[in-house]
Symmetry: none
Subunit: 124 residues, 4 copies
DNA sequence: GTGGTCTAGACCACA
DNA sequence: GTGGTCTAGACCACA
């Protein structure tokens, strides 16, 4: 499915949240489709079911998934709002880094050039 | 001096490291100038001296400050290398956010526009 | 496990770092194997858990070990880089002593003879 | 005269001991010659007289210097024993580093080659 | 007075 | 149970 890193400072349940959210937002998991159960996830990734449960609860809270008692858990039908929120957050993160770079005296053009380079690579 | 947030996910000693490093790299604290003692810092911010000590040790290790046994702690004389490292790290952070934005389908021009706006604000 | 000296000029946490690092680099502790917990170490050696924690944090930072939140601490999987760094450091130390001996007028052959004797002893 | 580094972890009084001892053992300061007074040293190097005093006491204890009350402090007349001790200590240090290198699997020839290179450089 | 180390013990996030 | 952070307070080397 995907890899869990046992790296320090990055809790497993947060990695789970991030990766599942990513798969949902990128369309790998389609809206109103069922996702694997807590047990399946746990045994597949060899991690504690409590950890999976914690990640799922957070995904439900964020509106990325919803659970139907007795039937399982599904990808949310309307993801637009979540994508919007996510994008806003990343914009803020990006500008926060950019601000630090301004403070260090890095020129604007260097930043813009780096971003354009990133886009070009993505289009290859 | 500056404010410490008591958010559990942002340890006090890391906030200290970040804020002092920022003041040093921005030139608020001048090279080879003494910084307040462990005890002064602790009482000023109403935190434990050990917590300050932990932050200071890390700043020493990073080369931002150096301690002189029995005399106190001083801002490092040569900060160029550290500024370089810091800038590299921020570039990577910025591109990481930008990459997420690409994946979400945000157009390049929006990112660049945001960055240009940030620079303009800084120049007001 | 091993002995801790209470010499004031050789902090306990540094002794811990050195001894654990040695056991790791010599292969006594195998890669990706768990090492005893902070609390076990502390009670075994009759020292404070904080002191063990300090040593462990440094070992993590050096890449000798890594900690998994909630699960414990493990020997790093890839030690090659660290062994290389360690060897470089010891070469410099050795040459530093050798240089002092040159300055004192000790003949080169005496040094080389001593080193060859050391290797022969190791091969017995 | 010489430079004092305000580096962490290397007390000023120990730097003094090392540098004066070096000058004596290398013959820069001749046997039974007077050395500068505590006051002269302190003002010359801009350090605390107590610190100089502490270094001088240690040098006396080691037999490198001797003080004549009312007349000052002099380089010892017979330095052979001290040179011998110093050399023995450096041999042990060198072998200690060499031993670590053996443990890390470094070949003997590399060590010997490094030492020979050091001697050649010294003879240039 | 200044930094560095250590102990004792509490509390929290995570699994 | 495991690691990480923090407080309170002691003691030491150094200047």
């Amino acid at each position: 499915m995907f890899k869990i890193s046992l790296n320090k400072n990055f809790p497993i349940y947060e990695q789970l949240i991030e990766k599942i959210e990513e798969m949902v937002l990128l369309g790998v998991l389609e809206p109103d489709t069922a996702i694997p159960s807590v047990r399946d996830f746990a045994s597949e990734l060899a991690i504690n079911p409590n950890t999976v449960q914690k990640a799922f609860s957070e995904l439900d809270k964020r509106g990325v998934t919803y659970s139907v008692s007795g039937k399982g858990r599904f990808v949310a039908g309307d993801l637009d709002k979540i994508i919007k929120q996510k994008a806003d957050k990343h914009i803020l993160d990006m500008l926060s880094s950019a601000k630090e770079l301004i403070n260090l005296g890095i020129d604007k053009d260097i930043l813009i050039h780096e971003i354009e380079r990133l886009y070009e690579e993505g289009n290859k």
